[in-house]
Each structure stands twice: as structure tokens, then as C-alpha cells.
């Protein structure tokens, strides 16, 4: 099965690269919640996606997850 975001072989529904980026996104969310005293998952994804420091794969996954929510 191919990754939902690229041509690489998928580990689950994503390839290893995008899966790592997804795990980073999930790990960082509680820090954002704490930092702002609460932030919705969708707003978080939107912010991360627009942040210049966010890595390319993390942005791609954020966009995918945003579409799913």
C-alpha cells in the first residue's frame, strides 16, 4: 500500500517519514495546549501548517489531518 501523501511504501497508511512527522505533531499538541491555555486540534493544525519553522513533512501531514477533521 502506498503512503497517502507520497509514492513511498506505507507503514500504516503513511510512509515512515510522514508517520514520524505525524508522531511529532501528536507529541507537540499537549505543549501547545499548555502554552496557550487550550487550543482546538484544528486550530493547532492550522497554526502549525502556517508556521515557517514547521518541517515539510509535518506540514503535509497537518494538511491531511486538517482535511479529516
Amino acid at each position: 500500500m502506498k503512503c497517502r501523501l507520497c509514492e513511498k511504501e506505507a507503514v500504516t497508511d503513511l510512509c515512515g517519514h510522514h508517520q514520524s512527522a505525524k508522531e511529532n505533531l501528536e507529541r507537540a499538541y499537549p505543549r501547545w495546549v499548555k502554552a496557550y491555555g487550550g487550543i482546538e486540534w484544528k486550530d493547532y493544525l492550522d497554526n502549525v501548517k502556517r508556521n515557517v519553522q514547521t518541517g515539510r513533512w509535518a506540514k503535509e501531514v497537518a494538511e491531511l489531518l486538517e482535511g479529516n477533521t
Binding site: 517519514h17 514520524s20 511529532n24 501547545w32 499548555k34 502554552a35 491555555g37 519553522q53 514547521t54 518541517g55
Partner: protein, 693 residues
């Protein structure tokens, strides 16, 4: 003629070095002559006849006898002269023939190649293959500069080599690297060759693999990076009408609420100066240059790549302006003659003040920790450049001279101040400092950089009015990409590659399209090559394996181990990995093949075709003439847009269009400086320039 009835044949590494040796030993009376098209020099010294000839770097290389690029594994390899192994070295054969002829009339041989593993290998191979087995009884002349005094001394002290450790280790390194590279590259290239597609070279070397690994790992971290927010708090205070800005003692405040709380607590309050701590620190001069230090510093101050710096430094060495640059040492022994070098440098206007000052004190240069048994740190010989040096040469020369001068300077002194201001329970700090005594920094000149700031005049117990509290939302920064300088540093700290090869390995990674840009970003091709190797043969790209081989080679250099066993072990380990890889050829092909062709196209796509407006202009190589040119991807659909290209250098797209004709602008690397040009031969701007001329 010498007593044995023949002359002494001196073998140098490069033609420039041969001329310097001949001039030095003959006091300028040597006469040049042509032997089979190669220039050699003849003279008589102390009643003995000498002939000085030179190699041209490596005249011999390792190759497999069949050179069939689709065949692997290849373990049966031999040394051949470079003209026989397809290297672009048309005069290697002529040079070998010339040395062979000169050797026939010689009764004594002197190896005067550079004294390190590469130089030893070059000299060993020439004496063994071209001179007919003379490597064992040739004398060895060892020197670190090409100045006349040192060359005369080196030849007076020339002795038979006690051991051949360096040469054997050098030869083993070439052999292992060839076997390693040829087999892995063939597996990868074979696998990547999809049906109906042209052969594409995908290479992987012993040191190249782990080096690419550093870049890919960093790129993974960058691409997966998710920043977390934090807040930076600073407060502006007033003291005697002056504004002082202090930072909150916690540099990254983790929550917005906490940051706002600090602001609320401090606004409208007064700060109390709790402590004013002034300290003076000594800033010692930097260690003299090893080759890695020079490459990193030249990258920092001039932006020169490590490979380019080494190339320039070698030219300066051949011009007898600096000592041998491929050294790991950071030490300047007294035997180099500090005083004489400084006196001669004093004759050059720009260094006269510094040298005059230095010569009045005791001459004790700073010594670094690293040592190299073969050569001291890089230093200027004191010789004045003959004629005008081009800018990069002049820059590197000046940098080497100033680093040498700095080593003799006293420590600089820096006054530092740390002020703590409390606003209730919240602490703020002001830090500043300035150089109060320049010491060595004056000699290092423009290459020394210091962030000086004004030291505020406050005392303990002073009360300062809080003017403003600034709360700034910030985000964590993703890790930085490696530059060529920091990658070189990483290779050094991981102890992979040698001082002579690291810069070339970085250049190869760029050349193969595994990385792109000044900030070395791993490309899709770089990713797929490395990750496929990691998946199917993980051991082969590990730093540990490569470092282990380096350590074995070092033992050979020191004469602690024989070369054959190291080669045997390495080949055994490689063979096992090759078996694993060959079992997965199909998967390798699928995974690398997908990026090889698109990767290449990405690298040579120049931009949209201005003629058909739908195709893409690309760099294409003619099957017939093998020359490259620009063509449109819609050629098959009838678009005939094309343009010639320079045949030398590396062509890269700039992503910009010519403002006059809308054709792409490219940049060509390869000459002394990169140059940009519009690819359109009929560009109206070019016509204007010609008419103006």
C-alpha cells in the same frame, strides 16, 4: 656522473615542485629538457649528476581488469597507470613512459613527493612500476615547505626509508575504497537501471555513505519538525534618562499566562539593582591552522568550500609561500625558524608593524592540542608572492599569515559585566562586554569578530523605573542544516575520512545530486540511496564500520599491522553485505529507480520554454557528439527551442528568467568564479552589448 655510472633521479609529485627542487639544488643553474614530452631538469651538484622529474598527482590507480560496469562483485583488482583505466589523464601514459626511460639511466633514486599517505603512495607506485622496483632502496627527502633552504637541507638529510607504513596504508586505502565503491555503486546502478532507460550512475563510497547519513538524518529532523511556542520577556528600565533593556531570567517562558503574569507584576514598579558583577577574562589566541581549521575558517570568513580552500592552499604551497597544507597539526615547532619567518614577513608592508612588535618579545607561539608526525601546522614561509595573487589566493595567504602572527600575540582581555535587577520576585539580567586589551586580535585583523556592547553605569542598590515590559511570542527553531564547514567538522569529530579526502567526499555528494544548495539539503535521490542501503544492508553505511577501517589503516601507517589482513577482513565483510544486497536487487531498483530519473530531471530542468510555453527547457546531452545543450521537453511534439551551453563546469538553474527575452538564466560553476548567463543565443541584450563594443 655519479660513482656508480648513472645519475640520481629525483621523483617529485608535481611539475611545479620539480622545478622548485631543481632550482634549489642547482642554485638556479638547472637546465630543462623534454623526455617523451615531459619536462625534466638536469644539473650537477657536488660533482654528482641529478635529473629531476615529476608525476602529476597519482599516475597509477586501482582498477579491475575487465572494466565491465554491469558486473559485480569485483575483488580481483590491480594497479594500472591512469591512462589505461579510463581516467581523463591523457598524459599519464606519456609521463610514465618518460619516467621509465629516465629510470633506465639512473643509479640512485630519491623520492621527493609530499610526505604524507598520498605522497608516499604516489612515490611508491612510480618507483615500483615506472622505475622498476626501486621503491625499497630509494632515498627519501622529507620537507614541509618548498623554500630553497629547506629543500637543500632535506636532500642533505635524505635517507633510505626505514618502513613503508604510510605508503602501504595509502595503497590499502585506495584498494579498499575502490573495491568498496565499485561494488556498491554497481549494485545500486544496476538495480536502478529500469527497462528501456539509460544507465544511470548511482554511487556509494565507504566514507560517502556515513557522510550522506549525517545529512539525511538532519534533513529528517528538519522535515518532521514541529515547533512549540514560548515567550521571551524583557523589560526596559530608566537610569539617568538612559534606557536599559534587561532580559527575564527564564529565557523561554513556556505559557502565555505565565508571561502575562510577569508583565502584570512588573508594570509600573521599580527595579532594584541587586548585583553588578564585573569580570575580566583572558581570550587566548587561536591555535595555528591544521588543514581542517583552515578550511572551516576560510568557509566562515570568505565562504570558500573546503575543496576550493585546499586547492588554493596547495597552489600557495607549490609557490613556496606557505608550508604543506595537508596537515593535522596545530603546532609550530621552533625548528621552522620563527625569527627568520617574522623578519621576512616584516618586509611586506601590511605585516611590518605586527612583526616589529612580535620580534621585540619572546617568541613563544600558542600551540594547539592536535599533532601530526609528518608536518607542523600551516605557516607562511616568509617568501614574498612573485607577482600579483588572484583574490582568493591573496585572501587565503593573508589568513594564513595573520593566524601565524596571532599565535605570537598576547592574550586579549575582555571586560564582562552582569547586572541583576529585581522587580519584586522577578529577576532580570543585563549582560555586556567589550575588549579592553586587543592582544593577538590586532594581528588577526578583520578575521577577529567580537560582539561588543556598552557597559551600563549602574551600582548595587540603584533603583530603576520600569518603562516597559515586552512579551514576545516566539517558536522553537528547527535544527540548522550542515554547511560544508560544519559537515567537515562532523566528519573530523566522527573520525571518518582523512584530511586529504574529506573535502572531495563532500564535493562528490554535491556532484552526484545527493545534496543541493549551500545549506546542504539532502535531495530525494540522496534519501532513497541512503535509506535503501539502511534497509537492505544497514551495516554498510554505519559510521562505526568506516571508523573501524580507518583505525586499522592507522595501525598500518604506524607499522603495527600488515596491510593484507586488513584488506582480507574488509573484503570478507563487504562480500557478506553484497550478498544481502543482491538478494534484494529488485526492491533496490524499485526504490532507488523511482528517484534516479526524476532526480536527474529535477537537477537539470531550467524553466518553462518561452517558445512553446508549455514545455520545459532542460539540459540535454547529444548522443552523437556527447555535448550538452538546452532543449525543450516538447521536442517530440515539434518544439525546436534549443540553445548551446558551455561544455565545462556545472550548470545549475537559477529559477529566474531573462528580463529581455524570458529565457531561463543559468549559473555556471567551474571557473574561478561562478557566472550567470541567459541561455538564449539570440537574446536582444547580448546583441546590444556586442553593438556597444
Amino acid at each position: 656522473m655519479s660513482p656508480q655510472g648513472g645519475y640520481t633521479l629525483v621523483v617529485c609529485e608535481k611539475p611545479d615542485a620539480a622545478k622548485r627542487v631543481a632550482d634549489a639544488l642547482s642554485d638556479g643553474s638547472a637546465r630543462s629538457f623534454l623526455e617523451s614530452g615531459m619536462t625534466a631538469f638536469r644539473f650537477v651538484r657536488g660533482g654528482e649528476e641529478f635529473v629531476v622529474c615529476s608525476a602529476l598527482g597519482h599516475l597509477y590507480g586501482v582498477s579491475d581488469p575487465f572494466r565491465e560496469r554491469t558486473v559485480y562483485p569485483v575483488f580481483d583488482v590491480e594497479w594500472y597507470s591512469n591512462d589505461l583505466v579510463g581516467e581523463d589523464r591523457s598524459d599519464a601514459g606519456r609521463r610514465v613512459a618518460a619516467i621509465r626511460r629516465l629510470s633506465a639511466g639512473a643509479s640512485k633514486f630519491v623520492n621527493a613527493c609530499d610526505f604524507d599517505a598520498e605522497g608516499e603512495t604516489i612515490g611508491f607506485n612510480v618507483l615500483r612500476y615506472a622505475s622498476g622496483g626501486k621503491e625499497g632502496n630509494a632515498l627519501r627527502a622529507k620537507f614541509s615547505t618548498l623554500t630553497s633552504e629547506e629543500l637543500v637541507r632535506a636532500f642533505a638529510d635524505a635517507k633510505p626509508q626505514a618502513g613503508q607504513g604510510l605508503a602501504i596504508a595509502g595503497r590499502m586505502r585506495h584498494l579498499i575504497d575502490f573495491v568498496w565503491g565499485i561494488n556498491l555503486s554497481r549494485v545500486l546502478s544496476q538495480s536502478a537501471q529500469l527497462p528501456g532507460r539509460r544507465y544511470a550512475t548511482v554511487s556509494m563510497g565507504r566514507v560517502q555513505g556515513p557522510t550522506l547519513g549525517f545529512l539525511v538524518q538532519r534533513e529528517r529532523e528538519i522535515r518532521c519538525f514541529v515547533p512549540a511556542p514560548f515567550w521571551k520577556i524583557s523589560a526596559a528600565f530608566e537610569k539617568d534618562g538612559k534606557r536599559l533593556v534587561a532580559d527575564y531570567h527564564i529565557s523561554k517562558v513556556g505559557t502565555r499566562t505565565e508571561a502575562e503574569l510577569v508583565r502584570g507584576d512588573c508594570l509600573g514598579k521599580e527595579g532594584l539593582v541587586g548585583s553588578v558583577r564585573k569580570t575580566t577574562v583572558q581570550v587566548g589566541a587561536p591555535a595555528p591552522f591544521s588543514v581542517g581549521d583552515l578550511q572551516r575558517e576560510a568557509f566562515r570568513v570568505f565562504g570558500l568550500s573546503p575543496a576550493r580552500t585546499l586547492q588554493i592552499a596547495e597552489r600557495l604551497y607549490l609557490g613556496a609561500l606557505i608550508s604543506y597544507p595537508r596537515t593535522g597539526s596545530q603546532k609550530l615547532p621552533p625548528s621552522i625558524g620563527y625569527k627568520s619567518i617574522l623578519q621576512r614577513l616584516g618586509g611586506m608592508g601590511e605585516y611590518s608593524d605586527a612583526t616589529r612588535e612580535i620580534l621585540t618579545g619572546g617568541l613563544r607561539p600558542v600551540q594547539g592540542a592536535k599533532d601530526d608526525p609528518a608536518h607542523p601546522a600551516i605557516y607562511p614561509t616568509g617568501e614574498r608572492p612573485r607577482g600579483h595573487l588572484a583574490k582568493p589566493e591573496a585572501d587565503i595567504f593573508d589568513l594564513v599569515v595573520r593566524r601565524f602572527l596571532a599565535a605570537f600575540g598576547q592574550s586579549a582581555r575582555r571586560e564582562q559585566i552582569a547586572i541583576r535587577v529585581s522587580v519584586g520576585k522577578h529577576d532580570f539580567g543585563i549582560e555586556g562586554g567589550r575588549i579592553t586589551y586587543p592582544g593577538w586580535t590586532r594581528y588577526y585583523g578583520r578575521y577577529f569578530w567580537s560582539k561588543d556592547s556598552e557597559v551600563p553605569q549602574v551600582a548595587e542598590g540603584d533603583r530603576l523605573k520600569v518603562l516597559e515590559v515586552m512579551v514576545e511570542e516566539k517558536f522553537e527553531q528547527r535544527p540548522p542544516r550542515y554547511s560544508q564547514g560544519t559537515l567537515l567538522e562532523k566528519m573530523e569529530s566522527e573520525r571518518i575520512g582523512t584530511k586529504a579526502t574529506r573535502a572531495d567526499i563532500i564535493a562528490t555528494l554535491v556532484g552526484r545530486g545527493y545534496v543541493q544548495g549551500d545549506a546542504m539539503e539532502a535531495t530525494d535521490l540522496g534519501f532513497s540511496v541512503l535509506e535503501t542501503m539502511e534497509k537492505y544492508s544497514p551495516g554498510i553505511v554505519t559510521t562505526e564500520l568506516t571508523r573501524g577501517i580507518e583505525q586499522e589503516l592507522e595501525k598500518i601507517e604506524e607499522g603495527k599491522e600488515g596491510g593484507k589482513e586488513v584488506v582480507r577482513q574488509t573484503i570478507r565483510s563487504l562480500a557478506a553485505q553484497l550478498v544481502e544486497l543482491s538478494e534484494h536487487e529488485e526492491e533496490l531498483g524499485r526504490e532507488i529507480g523511482a528517484t534516479v530519473v526524476p532526480g536527474k530531471q529535477e537537477a537539470i530542468a531550467l524553466g518553462r520554454c518561452p517558445v512553446c510555453k508549455t514545455g520545459e527547457l532542460r539540459v540535454v546531452r547529444s548522443k552523437k557528439t556527447k555535448k550538452r545543450f538546452v532543449g525543450c521537453s516538447n521536442y517530440a511534439s515539434g518544439c525546436r527551442a534549443s540553445a548551446p551551453l558551455p561544455q565545462r563546469g556545472t550548470v545549475k538553474a537559477t529559477g529566474k528568467q531573462c528580463p529581455h527575452c524570458s529565457w531561463p538564466i543559468i549559473v555556471v560553476y567551474g571557473g574561478r568564479f561562478p557566472w550567470k548567463l541567459c541561455v538564449n543565443p539570440g537574446c536582444p541584450a547580448k546583441g546590444v552589448k556586442k553593438r556597444e563594443v
